[in-house]
């Protein structure tokens, strides 16, 4: 029954031990969860299983055969498919082509016959296209069939990746953070989808994700990794109550469940701002730009006194290519205020930030910052005025050391701050000052990005998806930092998936829907009246408390019988399979159950 057997796998990169003595068993038909803090080695294990890396020690067996000398494509043929944390679709191909490829990649089709367009190739093409369309239909991707994969929003791309993995007819699918970047509603939908996929395509899954609600809901069994070792394993309910796991992964308490975790985090001190005037216009660079020759502090106060916002956006529209993503955006941020932008994926939050910071051109509308019109200004000029933008994915240079990254920020913005100021705020970075940024963990990288931003002594900091892909403890610390920024008088404009956490720190929030702002409300109001945010959002807050009753159930609410999965994944003639599926549809029961019944009859 054991499909995937991982035994004592170790992986080291030079001196870094990424995995150490990891053993893991996955049974047929199971959805196995793999969780752990950032840098615990989850993706490394995935790479070892899918063949992108060869483990330095230990062995991996798939269906009782060693995978030691099998290259990635050979493993794919044996039935291991995977998705990628950083999307790896073939961007210049259509969605349909993305699915057609794995369908026929396993069969060794003749290149010459393809080029000549012989009937054999023709038939195979049609069959592949048909199957690809069927899979896209199940994943509700029909409208995107002929779109180029690279043009789609990230959430849709994740689903296409899942479809592509299934298209290979795998026995095992490795899912690397399928919920990253999805909002609570979409994650809920994904959980449904994963169950449907298991039922319809008879696959086992190994799932890595930070979204605990998803992992707890869909997984049959969970392994917890920490520092490259298996820390704990068990059923979701057991793992959730395991004190070791809670300590290592969730922090003292899950941030979604309680707010007490916030107090345990030591509040760092911040000494960023020099006491003198900040933008004094003395530096040649600053003089060349539109920076006003006044102290930012006093100006902010003046603006605040006048009631004029620090950032004022009116009628903003922007987009990419022929696509208009946002229109008629009006928002403002006052000095020293924390404002959150929330909304579903693809609602236009990121695009709004990009249009404000000048990374993309505004098509219409006006952006005023610190009393000046900055619409159409170059991004570096806007940055020097004191508007810092930390983009999604952080925009770091992976090969630069921490210290060089920070120094670069000082040089390029002409800021007078000292690098030590950043180390005071993030002491952890001082230990890692010589390390290349690319080798840091996700949380540390976010710290570098934030340190870099505050070294430029901004008046407004725009944070895009700060917490994406980070473990809850780190996220909590980062949110704590926002409090610190506010205390220092830095205004913050925040785009965030963790709505509850965002509302904890924010004063006000804008709710984005379909490229424009649907509501504006104070954070307190939103915390009180949850109906103001769409119901889908609150799923994430409540999900943690749900019990694991449904865990073993499939999409139809039937308990998955291990034997059943075995039966259904047997090879059988297509006519029989189709007859079974038709009957299943008529009777509204899973095909596997009918197959089992028939088997019983035959045995009698």
């Amino acid at each position: 029954m054991t499909m995937l057997r991982v035994r004592d796998v170790g992986m080291r990169f030079g001196g870094l031990v990424a995995l150490q003595g990891v053993s893991l068993d996955l049974n047929r038909g199971e959805i196995l969860g793999l969780i752990g803090p950032n840098g615990a080695g989850k993706t490394t294990l995935f790479n070892c299983i899918s063949g992108l890396l060869n483990p330095t020690e230990g062995s991996i067996f798939f269906e009782s055969r060693s995978l030691r000398f099998a290259p990635p494509h050979e493993r794919a043929r044996r039935g291991i498919a995977r998705t990628f944390q950083n999307l790896q679709l073939w961007d210049s191909m259509t969605v349909l082509e993305n699915l057609e490829l794995p369908i026929d990649a396993a069969g060794n089709r003749n290149t010459l016959s393809d080029a000549l367009g012989l009937p054999f190739s023709h038939y195979a093409e049609r069959a592949a296209a048909e199957r690809a369309r069927a899979i896209l239909h199940v994943l509700e991707l029909d409208p995107f069939v002929n779109r180029l994969a690279g043009d789609l929003p990230a959430g849709i791309q994740r689903r296409v990746e899942l479809g592509r993995a299934i298209a290979m007819r795998p026995k095992l699918v490795l899912l690397d953070e399928p919920a990253a970047g999805l909002d609570a509603g979409e994650t809920e939908h994904l959980a449904e989808l994963l169950r449907t996929v298991r039922e319809r395509f008879h696959v086992s899954m190994l799932l890595v994700d930070h979204d605990m609600s998803l992992v707890m809901k869909v997984c049959d069994y969970i392994y917890v990794l920490d520092f490259g070792k298996v820390l704990a394993r068990g059923k979701p309910a057991e793992v959730r109550n395991d004190s070791k796991v809670i300590a290592a992964y969730l922090g003292e308490a899950s941030p979604e469940l309680s707010e007490s975790g916030a107090e345990t985090v030591e509040e760092p001190t911040i000494i960023v701002r020099s006491s003198g005037p900040v933008h004094d216009g003395e530096s040649a660079e600053a003089a060349a730009t539109v920076v006003p020759a006044a102290s930012s502090e006093t100006e902010s106060q003046v603006l605040a006194a006048r009631g004029e916002p620090l950032l004022e956006v009116t009628g903003l529209a922007a987009g990419y290519g022929r696509l208009e993503v946002i229109r008629d955006i009006a928002l403002n941020v006052h000095a020293g205020e924390v404002v959150a932008c929330i909304g579903a994926n693809g609602a236009g939050k990121t695009t709004t930030l990009r249009a404000i910071s000048g990374v993309i051109h505004a098509r219409s509308g006006r952006v005023r910052f610190a009393g000046r019109n900055i619409t159409g200004s170059r991004p570096e000029a806007i940055a020097r005025m004191g508007l810092a933008h930390i983009p999604e994915g952080r925009g770091l240079f992976p090969r630069l050391s921490v210290e060089d990254t920070l120094r670069l920020a000082l040089d390029s913005t002409g800021s007078k701050a000292h690098i030590e100021a950043a180390y005071d705020v993030f002491p952890r970075l001082q230990q890692r000052r010589r390390q290349a940024v690319g080798t840091l963990s996700g949380g540390e990288q976010q710290m570098v990005a934030m340190a870099r931003a505050i070294l430029a002594q901004p008046r407004l900091l725009m944070l895009d998806e700060m917490s994406q892909g980070l473990a809850p403890t780190i996220v909590q610390q980062l949110f704590q930092m926002i409090h610190v920024f506010r205390d220092q008088g830095i205004a913050v404009l925040l785009v965030e998936q963790f709505v509850q956490s965002a509302l904890q720190v924010a004063d006000r929030a804008y709710i984005f829907e379909h490229g424009s702002i649907a509501h504006e409300a104070s954070a307190a109001e939103l915390r009180r009246d949850r109906n103001l945010i769409s119901g889908s959002y609150l799923g994430s807050a409540a999900a943690g408390e749900e019990t694991a009753i449904e865990v073993a159930a499939n999409g139809n609410g039937h308990v998955v019988h291990p034997e059943l999965m075995e039966t259904v994944s047997m090879r059988m003639p297509a006519e029989i399979k189709r007859a079974l599926e038709e009957r299943a549809e008529r009777e509204g029961r899973p095909a596997g159950a009918i197959a089992l019944e028939l088997l019983e009859e035959v045995k009698k």
Partner: protein, 345 residues
């Protein structure tokens, strides 16, 4: 055959019918240019497959053509084989070299691969085509003379041979073009494009990288060699000069200029590369309005290619053909219908 295939063959036949009689009235030199345009057309076509489809960089396509040209010349002059055999041997030589060049490509990407292939082009230019050790292959400093060659009744010493060779080359070019478009739209082509877009994803989705990268290099070298093996037939001899390093660079530059992802760009590029320098050397000097003397030599062509390449990268990022095609499709309102499957035809 699928409807798409029939359409493509029909287009190819029509194109052949129109183009076959085009150089009839022209003088010998322009007929030579027409045939040369097709040889360089094959060179760019090979880049479309290698760079445009599979995403691999190569700066030694003229070397593949040169090896094939010398192979054909050697077969005909030294071994007294028929020209048909010469072509086969030329293409086989080029393909073998293609596989050898493809081996480092299994590990290298982008700029490093470009340097390695440039190195191979240099080595062949200096130490094979021009070195006495390889006289058995290159025929010494004079190269091979193929004045007595005979291909399907085309005799090199007849006055009509350029036109006939042009027609054979054109037919082959049309055929290979159709096959390449078919390939682009089929499973094998998708696998090549998957390697271009994301190698990790391709390998974990069952694409054998070793096999398909080597296949791309082999096919590409074979296509370049097919054109190159005709060079002795149209020129009457082989020499190192047409296949030196700079030709490889020019093929790459003009390929990108015309749109390296599209098959018709190869025809445009070949024409540009063969005809424009000749026109310049012939008509590029004289007196303008009886006052100003001017002399636009071949050197000007190279400068022009450089300037055009820069302009193209700014104005037409997808190449001359690529952007023309996009504009045409857009004008036809194809944007509202299903977006094009990136068909290069």
């Amino acid at each position: 055959m699928m409807p798409g295939h029939i359409v493509r063959f029909a287009v190819a036949i029509v194109a052949f019918a129109i183009l076959a009689r085009l150089p009839v009235g022209l003088d010998q030199a322009f007929q030579f240019d027409a045939a040369l345009a097709l040889i360089w057309g094959f060179g760019i076509l090979s880049l479309v497959l290698l760079t445009g489809y599979a995403g691999q960089v190569s700066l030694c396509q003229a070397t593949f053509a040169g090896v094939a040209a010398y192979g054909a010349g050697m077969t005909v002059s030294s071994m007294h084989g028929g020209y048909l055999l010469g072509i086969v041997i030329g293409v086989v030589f080029a393909t073998i070299l293609g596989v050898i060049v493809g081996l480092p490509a299994l590990r290298l990407h982008g700029i490093t691969l470009a340097i390695v292939t440039l190195g191979i082009a240099l080595v062949f230019d200096r130490y094979v085509f021009q070195d006495h050790i390889f006289d058995w292959f290159t025929g010494g400093t004079g190269g091979w003379q193929v004045t007595s060659a005979d291909l399907l009744g085309i005799k090199v010493d007849s006055s009509q041979h350029l036109l006939a060779a042009y027609d054979v080359l054109l037919a082959l070019f049309c055929l290979v073009s159709v096959l390449m478009v078919n390939l682009h739209q089929s499973g094998a082509g998708r696998r090549l494009r998957a390697i271009r877009d994301s190698e990790v994803a391709a390998s974990t989705m069952g694409v054998n990288l070793t096999r398909y990268k080597l296949l791309a290099f082999a096919m590409s070298a074979g296509i370049a060699g097919l054109g190159g093996s005709f060079y002795p037939l149209i020129a009457g001899s082989v020499s190192p000069q047409p296949f030196w390093v700079f030709t490889s660079l020019q093929l790459a530059a003009i390929g990108v200029l015309m749109g390296v992802r599209y098959v018709p760009a190869a025809a445009l590029g070949g024409l540009f590369m063969a005809v424009v320098p000749d026109v310049l050397t012939r008509y590029g000097h004289g007196t303008f309005m009886n006052r100003f003397n001017y002399d636009i030599s071949f050197d000007w062509f190279q400068i022009a290619v450089g300037v055009l390449l820069i302009l193209q990268l700014i104005l037409l990022p997808d190449g001359v053909w690529g952007d023309m095609r996009a504009k045409l499709l857009h004008a036809r309102g194809a944007a509202q219908r299903k977006p094009a499957r990136e068909a290069p035809a």
